[in-house]
């Protein structure tokens, strides 16, 4: 299975915070924490757990660039 999204960043889940309908999942990718907001339903269906392996997937059109 392959996806068109240019950014597939493998890591390990370090935190899951469930809300009423939306969960925040944090993935440690090479020491950088990536935060993802997904549905509670997805968290359950994918069986996400702290300590489990997971990738953050991001479409390139959703990535901005910032310079200081």
């Amino acid at each position: 299975m392959k996806i068109s999204a240019r950014n597939v960043l493998a890591g390990k889940i370090v935190d899951i915070k469930k809300g009423a309908t939306t969960s925040h999942v944090q993935i440690d990718v090479n020491g950088k924490i990536i935060t993802s907001a997904i549905t509670n339903e997805a968290v359950e269906e994918l069986g996400l757990k702290v300590g489990g392996e997971a990738s953050a997937v991001i479409k390139s059109s959703d990535v901005m660039v910032m310079v200081s």
Copy 2:
């Protein structure tokens, strides 16, 4: 200056590909390449150059999670 986006990933620009209106900018973040699609105008205004420092900025609602 602070932004609400939960993901601000500092790195170095390794590639810039200009299209007719859209450019693809690649940033090396801790050895992971992040691809961003932004306007040509932004590339010019920010003075982006290969080798320069830049951060990839991503809103958490734009991050999906994938498991194998």
Copy 3:
């Protein structure tokens, strides 16, 4: 492999229009045409071709609702 995106719509590619950096791919899903704008690079890497099977993947936070 499983993705958190709630919308994975299987269909058949009916058109690919390549631009300078961005391609438009049309997928026929149950008779409805879904248009996707992705990088040329993704089109090549996934080996997308008219007539091939493919799914449109959409995060639920990117879906709006309209009523008449």
Copy 4:
């Protein structure tokens, strides 16, 4: 009224799940269920109800492609 979004998929609402600020609305489009995450405010303002007609609206830059 016309919108630039390339994907306007007419269907019928089959489920509405209200959270604290975000609702998940499911629309049956030709037998495929599309899930949308929108504000509670929008659900009320549009008078969305299970059984009512509604379209899912998706910008083409928010559609990814996946192949197996």
Copy 5:
């Protein structure tokens, strides 16, 4: 016709820049210029022209907040 997007900003088109597949449309809303990147196809289908009236439509989950 009503859309769930919380931000519908009426204004006047002040610039259209066509690329290979993507156009950049600028709308003057109360003296603020809003830039939109949409498909060339949408520009044609909606008959967008400099000087014409148009609204910028933005889903609230696509709006970030920045403070200095």
Copy 6:
């Protein structure tokens, strides 16, 4: 600090509605109300308060165009 997002709209916060994980922040920009859905965490980290100055930041690929 500069960001590639083409739309940075300065204004004043007029409302903050906190949910379980997601907050809705309203910014008055030249008399137009812009609604943003961000994480509760961001609201706290940025110290957002009603009456405070803030900018709405929107990537041009997230802006649609509508005509009547």
